[in-house]
């Protein structure tokens, strides 16, 4: 029986299309391009990696992430699915059981709610049930601020954060996005990979990436900015808002905020959080997601368990308000956490 690997060797390697050669040519890449390169390189590296999703083939995906993939990798490895998130997510699990490494795209991560059942019940429990690992990635665009309304702007991390057996990754830079996605694809457990739409083409995020193969290990937070007065734990789009706020806090009031980017939400890098809090004695959690039941809660609990004595102020949070994501710009701007809010909270905490 021919394996996918053997079949591949039948086709002589072709030239990569221009739009996935930026890093190879030493050019900077956007967040989106970094993810595209990760997908491309993993597909080249490992013939068991393949893609499924809606409109990812001839159209190249709603955000053109997989533009050019169908031509190069063929229909078997770039599969346009019917509109059935549960169906193709469950199918990915079956393929993963047999040793393949599917990467499925949610056209918008809002639609992962349709695959909630297979993800939380079948996929997350498989290894524990003795049915073996499910090496697969579910990736897609998340987040608000793009006037997408309540069903194209969600941050569904907390729907899955509570499920033992899943991993959740939410990068904030092009480097991390590439390295974390590669790590996720190589990981032997199911990974949800969240890509904030506002980061996709943000010019400020363009980066020249190392030309060699690299991964960013899952489960490790990163300090984006060192500080001594206050820890801001955040992730995704809010890393950039927190960094802006930190600059203002430093400039206006000389408050040095440490900005910790979780990068992986599950498993949570508790050690990184705890050691930063032990240094700064103050903790602000910032998430774009809604407030009640958001990630701040678990972080508060972990810090209580591990670093209560070090806290000189209450753990506070800056988050979206507890509603769906509104469509109209003035409403959405009110809904979302803003840099001003982080500054206000940071000052409050520093002065506590």
């Amino acid at each position: 029986m021919a394996t996918v690997a053997e079949q591949e060797h039948v086709n002589p390697p072709r030239e990569r299309p221009e739009h996935v050669r930026n890093t190879e040519l030493g050019k900077p890449v956007t967040f989106l391009e970094a993810i595209r390169e990760a997908l491309w390189e993993e597909m080249e590296r490992d013939p068991d990696v393949f893609l499924m999703g809606e409109d990812i083939g001839i159209y190249g995906g709603a955000f053109k992430m997989t533009d050019g993939f169908l031509d190069y990798f063929g229909e078997d490895r770039v599969i346009d699915t019917p509109i059935s998130e549960a169906g193709f997510t469950g199918a990915a699990a079956g393929a993963a059981h047999m040793g393949l490494r599917p990467v499925v795209e949610m056209q918008f991560m809002d639609f992962v709610s349709c695959a909630y059942e297979p993800l939380t019940n079948y996929i997350a429990t498989s290894r524990w049930r003795g049915s073996g690992p499910v090496p697969m990635v579910v990736r897609g665009p998340v987040g608000g601020g793009v006037r997408g309304g309540p069903f194209h702007s969600q941050n569904p991390e907390m729907a899955f954060f509570h499920t033992p057996g899943l991993k959740i990754v939410y990068p904030s830079t092009a480097y991390d996005a590439k390295g974390l996605l590669k790590a996720a694809i190589r990981d032997d457990d199911p990974v949800l990979f969240f890509e904030h739409k506002r980061l996709y083409r943000a010019p400020a995020l363009r980066e020249v990436l190392p030309p060699e193969d690299f991964v960013v290990p899952l489960g490790e937070a990163r300090i984006h900015r060192e500080g001594t007065d206050l820890t801001i734990v955040t992730y995704g789009m809010m890393v950039h808002e927190a960094l802006k706020a930190a600059e203002r806090l430093a400039g206006d009031d000389g408050i040095q905020a440490e900005v910790l980017d979780l990068r992986t939400l599950l498993p949570l890098d508790e050690d990184a959080i705890v050691s930063s809090v032990k240094k700064t004695n103050r903790l602000l959690v910032v998430h774009e997601d809604t407030r009640t039941g958001g990630l701040a809660g678990e972080i508060a609990m972990r810090v209580n368990e591990k670093a209560f004595e070090w806290l000189d102020a209450p753990i506070l949070r800056v988050t979206a308000i507890d509603t769906p994501v509104p469509y109209s710009p003035p409403l959405e701007d009110y809904y979302l956490p803003q840099v001003d809010d982080i500054v206000t909270a940071g000052k409050y905490l520093a002065g506590y």
């Binding site: 019917p82 918008f108 997408g148 009110y334």
Partner: protein, 356 residues
């Protein structure tokens, strides 16, 4: 796609009066006109999100909704449109100005700017706004139909469904429930060639969606979706069937989405010639020709309708443009009755975490 088009029934005047035929023509015109104005607004960056066109499919939306019992006091039939059923909403009584305000995210849009495009509800006029997640509306409409049966009301629920939507679990669970409970639910599948970029042949291996009817144990029928009278007549039969307590019905119309999925989509995936083929089958042109050929209308009459409608739409645009954007704090609109949404403490004049 072309080969799958059956030519419509076109059986005479379908029991419609001359005035009704003119009204139908007016709704077709209105639908197209509203979308054209929206396209202008979109190009001016006045539409906040995406714009979804139904160009070439207006006959489906208008013909089917026109077959319903339409009321303004919450006692008529009820529809759930899909994204390309602006025409159905207009027939049910939605106002163009409200549609424009929705797209422009205005404070006085039916959803106060919280939701967009045709995602809005009017129980009095009988339409329920969809959410984006495809499939769930079939479930919801099964429940609407259930309420009619439980209350002994002879009303009918009509849910619109794209070819792509048929692949969802929601379509299956919702329609199966309606079928087994013999509920007065009509599901109309608009087979328009694509779901976003995905051709129908990649959505289902079935030759025609109507072959699914038997698999649910319900009556099924299919017609040319670009023939407004064929759609009207077929829907009428289905609605009568459902109203008579004979159970759910699956309908299919064959039509074609002549614009991209939304305005941003350049349709690069469309094979050459396909658009031209369907342009020639334009439902407005066809109906206009028919009206004239059969002597049901004169050029002058139809031109007068068009002129009137152009005026109405223009007035709606002006009103919508004048509408204000929402105040930021309107975001605190509560999600449950009587409760208030907590305001972020950091936006209060003197931040106090005890108010967090």
């Amino acid at each position: 796609m072309p080969d799958r088009t059956t030519v419509g029934a076109g059986a005479g005047v379908a029991g419609l009066s001359r005035a009704q035929l003119h009204e139908i023509y007016g709704y077709l015109e209105l639908t197209r006109r509203v979308e054209e104005v929206l396209t202008h607004l979109y190009r001016q960056n006045k539409v906040i999100g995406g714009l979804y066109r139904s160009l070439g499919q207006e006959a489906t939306a208008v013909g089917s909704a026109y077959a319903l019992r339409r009321r303004t006091d919450g006692t008529g039939d009820v529809i759930a449109p899909a994204i390309r059923n602006l025409g159905s909403l207009l027939v049910m009584g939605a106002r163009p100005v409200d549609v424009m305000r929705q797209y422009m995210a205005k404070a006085d849009s039916p959803t106060g700017g919280r939701e967009q495009n045709v995602h809005f509800t009017d129980y009095d006029r009988g339409f329920i706004g969809l959410i984006s997640h495809l499939g769930v509306m079939i479930e919801v409409m099964a429940g609407v139909a259930l309420s009619f049966r439980l209350r002994g009301e002879d009303r009918v629920a009509l849910a619109y469904c794209g070819d792509g939507m048929t692949s969802t679990g929601g379509f299956h669970e919702g329609f199966n429930f309606a079928a087994v409970q013999r509920l007065p639910l009509v599901v109309l599948i608009e087979s328009n060639g694509y779901a976003y970029s995905t051709p129908t042949a990649r959505q289902s291996a079935v030759g025609s969606f109507i072959e699914k009817a038997e698999g649910y144990g319900v009556h099924g029928e299919r017609c040319d979706g670009n023939d407004v009278l064929a759609v009207y007549e077929m829907t009428r039969r289905a609605v009568d069937h459902a109203r008579a307590g004979k159970g759910a019905v699956l309908l299919e119309v064959v039509t074609y989405r002549r614009k991209g999925h939304a305005e941003h989509d350049a349709q690069a995936y469309v094979p050459p010639g396909e658009l031209a083929h369907w342009e020639a089958l334009d439902p407005l042109d066809r109906f206009r020709r028919r009206l004239l050929d059969e002597g049901w209308a004169t050029d002058a009459e139809l031109d007068a309708i068009s002129t009137r409608i152009a005026g109405e739409v223009e007035a709606a645009r002006e009103a919508a443009e004048r509408s204000p954007m929402p105040e930021p704090e309107a975001a605190l609109e509560p999600v449950i009755a009587g409760a208030r949404t907590a305001r972020p403490w950091v936006r209060l004049p003197t931040p106090d975490p005890h108010l967090a």
